[in-house]
């Protein structure tokens, strides 16, 4: 597993990949943070808040708001992570590279775990960079909206930023595991993407309209609830518990299938 981890990092450590990831994090942070900060209005002018996710000038002025734009932005990142992990893992099948790797590392579960760990470490780094860019951008843009930033860089403010990062990272980890598992089970990029996007996008949301309990059971909706710290329908703790179960089931199924399946075209 350690060797696979190192080998995967060799691919990710390439200059082109690092530049692409850094630029992606920068663009994501700039767009989401500027959009959140500039759309904030004083409480007196704003309408009813939806799920507590429409920030106001006042809510952004507190110590806990330092990473609020990042938190809002990252809640839209799940599908992107799902797509990237599906493409990465299913791509190993379509290119035949899993075959090449397994001839060098026949311990299949170790191969999967090492690869997954390296990709998650890389994602964690990109996420951290995105949060730092987001905070920096918010510090620059906030004064134009008369948002007070004096509380942002206090100990409480930084603690809140760390907590936001941990929440985002766990959510991203769950999206990533579900995407990777789906890719291993299906082995085809277009089919896995079709299933993953259709399920977590239209299917869950349409079902939610006709079945209220869907928010408490469907993984995509649970991940959305987790990203916002829980909703009126699902608490953060229930979302976390259910997601742990889903992640465990998905990873176990993918591991078992990958371990037993013949790898030949």
């Amino acid at each position: 597993m350690t060797r696979t981890f190192r080998a995967e990092l060799l691919k990710l450590r390439r200059r082109r990949t690092l530049i692409f990831a850094a630029l992606g994090a920068l663009a994501f942070s700039l767009i989401t943070t500027v959009a959140v900060v500039l759309s904030a209005e004083p409480v007196a002018n704003s309408g009813p808040m939806r799920d507590g996710r429409s920030p106001t000038i006042e809510s952004l002025s507190g110590s806990g708001a330092v990473a609020e734009p990042f938190s809002i932005g990252v809640s839209f990142l799940g599908i992107l992570v799902l797509v990237l992990f599906i493409a990465n893992f299913a791509g190993e099948f379509s290119q035949g590279t899993f075959r090449t790797l397994l001839m060098r590392q026949p311990r299949r579960l170790g191969l999967l775990a090492g690869k997954m760990a390296a990709l998650l470490v890389f994602a964690a780094g990109a996420l951290l960079l995105a949060e730092l860019f987001s905070i920096l951008t918010a510090l620059i843009v906030a004064p134009s909206q008369e948002i007070a930033t004096s509380q942002w860089l206090t100990l409480d403010g930084l603690g809140e930023a760390a907590s936001t990062y941990a929440t985002a990272l766990l959510g991203i980890g769950a999206w990533a595991t579900l995407g990777a598992s789906l890719a291993v089970l299906v082995r085809s990029i277009p089919i896995a993407l079709g299933i993953g996007i259709a399920w977590s996008g239209p299917f869950e949301h349409i079902t939610m309209d006709v079945w209220d309990a869907a928010t408490q059971w469907f993984p995509g909706l649970l991940l959305e609830a987790w990203a916002v710290g829980g909703t009126a329908d699902v608490s953060a703790s229930r979302a976390a518990l259910m997601l742990c179960v889903y992640v465990l089931i998905a990873a176990t199924a993918a591991g078992m299938v990958f371990r037993r399946r013949d790898l030949a075209s």
Binding site: R3, T4, R6, A7, L10, K11, R14, Q95, G96, T97, R99, T100, L101, L102, M103, R104, Q105, P106, R107, L111, R260, D262, L263, A264, S265
Partner: protein, 308 residues
Amino acid sequence: MTQSPPTISLEGLSKRYGDHVAVEGLTIEVPAGVVAGFVGPNGAGKTTTMAMLLGLVTPTAGSGTVLGHPLTDPAAYLHRVGALIEGPAFYPGLTGAQNLAVLAAIAGHDPAQIGELLELVGLGDRGDDRFRNYSMGMKQRLGIAAALLGDPDLLILDEPINGLDPAGVHEIRGLIGRLADGRRTVFVSSHVLTELEQVCDWLIVVDHGALVYQGPASDLGHTGAAIAAVPEHDHDLQRLERLLNAAGHDSEISGGEVLIAVNGSKPRQLAADVNRTAGAEGIVLAELGPHKTTLEDRYLATVNGGER
């Protein structure tokens, strides 16, 4: 051939996919230190067999050992095996050298050998090009370089000459010959025997998933010596064959010549008899001498039902 235990030993190995039998009861041995050609028509089960040796495919039945370890424990031997199977599969966005570095890292091999290996396969000046920009021949050569990582005791190469132009075939064949230094065993498959004829000293022939022949390449389909007679005029070919058979010889037309089985006779005396018989009927022989069969001739005769 050698006192060392066989590098590969398979006993009744089978692989079925539903009703389709890919490999059926294959029992073979590959002695240590040989270049073993694994030959058979397309779909004969060569790649599936190699995939089972590499732990990529689980046999339906049978057993075997590779480098003394059971097939069920590929982790015990794969660090001593280098392989290229089902074509070279690498990351298209990485350079040749980067792809080798990834494989060296995952196998725990020293990456310092990468430059040397790229030189060995003729990619010394193209190692920094992306894999997606390689030609078919370059991809195959990178695949062989990858197989050589860690200086393996056993090389398994699946159709390494597939898709190459004649110059590439010549080059890879030469490379395989150089890689077999007597210390390393090379197990190489092809559906065209002529590609391997010059480098193989051991041959395993399969057809429809089953073994047809295994043994020294020189023994394949050896049915005894013959002499060949070529009349001056082609229209005399059938008449010569009839005359010789009528005279009690075992002869047949093959290509543009009449082959006469020696069958225990003295070849020199037999040739004289043939010459005399032909001359008596006014047939002038343009050629008369020992018949030389190519390995390909014997392989085709074997696969087409000879020894199965």
